[in-house]
Symmetry: C2
Subunit: 212 residues, 2 copies
């Protein structure tokens, strides 16, 4: 099946379907059931799944296992992507310790930290190494994704070094604006921005309640 280009919003929902499906024991599952369980509209679910699988049958739904396979294949979870993480503080450790990323194909080859006391420790599948080892590990493993969890002032330096070692995508958790050369993908996780959206929604809701 030739797949159409799919929006970022849809791509974000696909792992949610996958997580739900993996928890199910029934052989078949309908879009109606999925929509009900995940508080989504049925139309939305049908449209999303039609874009990545042609396994839906009227009156039966999707074969659960087959749909899981289609989702994993579309999302590239069956292909390993080598990555490194720089900055083994609490956030870095939380990412290293979360097994869910490995199921997405992410292989964190190693983590790096400037604190020499951390060198040699292991968290999850990854060992923490000194910054000296970064360039070698990137080259040996053909590392494609660099995860940045260092403080803001150190982030651009780390980013530049990763890019120099051939990293093609930066996943930035540092609260800093990073510059990358053309051709390198930069994705920022901005928790302050997320919190701000939540706070604004809350303030609007509370002011609505006062008016009512």
């Amino acid at each position: 099946m030739e797949k159409r280009s799919i929006s970022k919003q849809t791509i974000r929902r696909l792992p949610v379907y996958l997580r739900y499906l993996k928890e199910q024991t029934s052989q078949n599952v309908s879009a109606t059931t999925i929509a009900g369980a995940l508080d989504l509209s049925e139309v939305q679910v049908r449209k999303d799944l039609a874009a990545i699988s042609d396994g839906g049958r009227p009156g039966i739904g999707y074969g659960t296992g087959a749909l899981i396979g289609d989702l994993e294949h579309y999302l590239g979870y069956d292909q390993e992507v080598p990555a490194v993480l720089v900055g083994a503080g609490n956030l870095g450790r939380a990412i290293l310790g979360y097994s869910g990323f490995a199921q997405c194909g992410l292989r964190i080859c190693a983590a790096f930290d400037s604190d020499p006391n951390l060198a040699g420790k292991s968290i999850g599948q990854a060992k923490i190494l000194s910054m000296d080892a970064l360039d070698g590990v990137c080259k040996e493993n053909g590392v494609q994704i660099g995860i940045i969890t260092v403080p803001d002032y150190a982030a651009q330096g780390v980013c530049d070094r990763l890019v120099l070692q051939g990293v093609r995508a930066i996943w930035n958790f540092a609260p800093a604006h990073l510059s990358v050369p053309e051709g390198v993908i930069l994705q920022n996780e901005n928790l302050v921005a997320s919190l701000t959206v939540l706070s604004k929604r809350l303030a609007e809701r509370l002011s609505q309640n006062e008016k009512e």
Copy 2:
């Protein structure tokens, strides 16, 4: 100045402007300068800032301090919102330890964990307490936001308990689909979904490069 309703995308950019402005020492700043520094289009920056401030002057730009004030006021950063965090693992500790949230008005009154060995420790401004103390702290402080950083299987139970104690907004970091009653705001931070978007972008870029 009466403010129009602003999109979620714009709201997410406003804290980025604010962070940039706080790093500046010049008295005035133009939309052109901001756009250049943050890799945004000038039109975008002008539109975003016009929505929250009427302090822009042709040929001069915005007064830096005044624009910071307008942004903080619009974003509600000058109003304290009491919160609790449940789950003091690595991710929970990363959130507790990050001083940037306090600057957004978030006041984390306390953190809670089911591990009795953690009780009594302090991280950032917050003390870790046993789960027994949760209901009392929520009531005493009029807690509005509940931050969930527990494992997936525990998340719904924690969410229900927070809602029962009057929490109006849930910021969920657990990889679980949560149900909340109508009127309660739920915001999910889904890092697997973010990673998936990044991986897909990377795969598309690499396959384009191969074709070229």
